[in-house]
Amino acid sequence: MAPMNGSYLPAGLPAPVPAAGDLDAEHWAAAARHELAVQRCNGCGRHQWGPEWVCHRCRSFDLGWAVVAPGGTIYSWERVWHPVHPALAEACPYVVVLVELPQAESIRMVGNLLGDPTAPVAIGAEVDAVFEDHPDGEPAYTLVQWRLRSAGA
């Protein structure tokens, strides 16, 4: 069972830091404020994830950020039984979900599905974002995790 003392996965995984040129810095800064921010094109208004230097639809370089509603649906999932990182040696099984955001042209984000890692997972289930703070990370960071909407607050 994955430990539930604050974070879904144990400490020891690498800390996310902004990409070169601060391309995605706003996403991580927003997560720390417990907001879900994704890139939005100022040219055509469409969202994209991950962040790019150019809009891959209208090819504008004028890209900004949008805070979107922190919810989505499970598009796919997997249950990991074999750890490939020392920090996860005792953490299996755990569940990784691919969540699509219908409010943002169904872009997708990877996260963990909080709760019992052995429970069945249903594609299409509605989920809400849970902002998981890692104040002891080097540097500190916040992950965007997911919880079944039916599980309640």
Binding site: S76, H82, I123
Partner: protein, 393 residues
């Protein structure tokens, strides 16, 4: 053939194949470069060529053995062509042959070696996370969530494919069983003498659902090489040529977008390549006699064969049976050497060699009267590639 016709069909052939002994991961007694040289010299010998005749080199997956070093080590008088296909995994395997064929068709070089060498004892291992304290860019959107290995990357795609089309676990199992079945008659195969039963597959541990242990490729040490020359030159050499009828490489839109955002997600990435390959060759799936399809993970093979038109997605559960996939009598004999799962994980170059053997009639699981032998390289990565070899020009 008109020289202005833009096709590779009938203009090049594989005329030599060479391999080292295949070893379990990190068991090679020799460093990687030595293995590489050994395989290249074996391929020249098989073709009836002198090593002096070799004048070009093509590889893929960031092979560490630089053609300039190889040519110098072998004392090759003149290097005329060197080429690398970007991208990891086995996606560039057929593409490297396609590039070699293009080089001889264009007259850049006469005898181009396609090679791949792996010694994971000497170098790092696949499938293990790199030791990082921080992570940025695309990996930052997956790794902190525990998604970091190839198996974990591709399980997500295969799960979605299984969901969309009602595919059951036995379809994946059939791919593994076919590879292990064929390995039992192949003395080169690492898993020769270690047959796999459906019960053992079902009882094996999960790596990451929906992949059991036996859905995942091995990791091995060794080297393999093939030699490509012009169709005219091929006619004068020692072996029956495996003629290149078509080769394609590439990717559909957005397949490399970060964080699993490919617009068409539940795909092996062959939807654009398969029609291109068939159009070049002027054939269709019903004409193919035998298939070698790169197994990083079994689910990718299922998707790749669907996208090459061998069955509809809704027919997967009926089509993917060990009987249908087994040589010699199955409807679509698959991975007849044992492939990445049970022969050797030589990044799929061993599959290209097996496709040549099927054309020559020398496979240990030979299909009768092979005219067309298909190779599918690297499902679910970008770029991917494929190659159609034929017994006649």
């Amino acid at each position: 053939m008109a020289s202005d016709e833009r096709t590779i069909k009938g203009r090049a052939a594989i005329v030599g194949i060479g391999e080292t002994r295949y070893y379990k991961r990190a068991q090679s007694p020799h460093p990687e470069l030595r293995l590489c040289l050994e395989a290249i010299m074996a391929a020249a010998d098989d073709a009836g060529l002198s090593v002096d005749d070799l004048d070009g080199f093509a590889s893929y997956s960031n092979d560490r053995n630089d053609p300039s070093l190889i040519a110098s080590a072998l004392g090759i008088p003149e290097l005329r062509f060197s080429n690398m296909v970007w991208g990891g995994g086995g996606g560039g395997g057929s593409a490297a042959v396609g590039n070699a064929a293009a080089a001889v068709a264009a007259g850049y070089a006469d005898h181009v070696v396609v090679f791949r060498a792996l010694a994971q004892g000497q170098f790092g291992r696949f499938g293990q996370a790199p030791p990082l304290r921080t992570v940025s860019g695309p990996m930052a959107y997956t790794m902190p969530y525990g998604l970091m290995s190839p198996a974990q990357m591709f399980a997500m795609r295969v799960q979605r494919f299984m969901h969309e089309h009602g595919v059951g676990q036995p379809a994946l199992r059939a791919v593994a069983l076919a590879s292990y079945h064929h390995a039992q008659s192949n003395p080169r195969a690492i898993m020769n003498g270690r047959p796999l039963t459906p019960e053992a597959y079902d009882a094996s541990r999960w790596i990451v659902e929906p992949f059991h242990l036996y859905d995942c490729c091995m990791e091995n040490d060794g080297a393999a090489a093939v030699i490509v020359t012009s169709a005219e030159r091929a006619a004068d050499l020692r072996q029956p040529p495996a003629h290149v009828w078509a080769a394609a490489q590439g990717s559909a839109e957005g397949q490399a977008l970060a964080a699993h955002n490919a617009p068409d997600y539940a795909t092996s990435n062959f939807k654009t390549l398969a029609p291109r390959l068939y159009a070049t060759a002027g054939v269709g799936p019903a004409d193919i006699d035998v298939v070698q399809s790169y197994e990083n993970f079994t689910g990718g093979v299922v998707m790749a064969l669907v996208e090459h038109g061998f069955c509809a997605p809704e027919q997967v559960n009926d089509f993917f049976t060990p009987e249908n996939l087994s040589a010699p009598g199955g409807r679509l004999p698959l991975n007849t050497s044992g492939g990445n799962l049970a022969e050797c994980y030589m990044h799929g170059l061993e599959l290209i060699i097996e496709a040549v053997r099927q054309v020559r009639g020398t496979s240990t699981s030979q299909v009768t009267d092979v005219e067309l032998s298909l190779v599918i390289s690297g499902p679910m990565v970008s770029p991917v590639s494929n190659l159609l070899l034929a017994a006649t020009r």
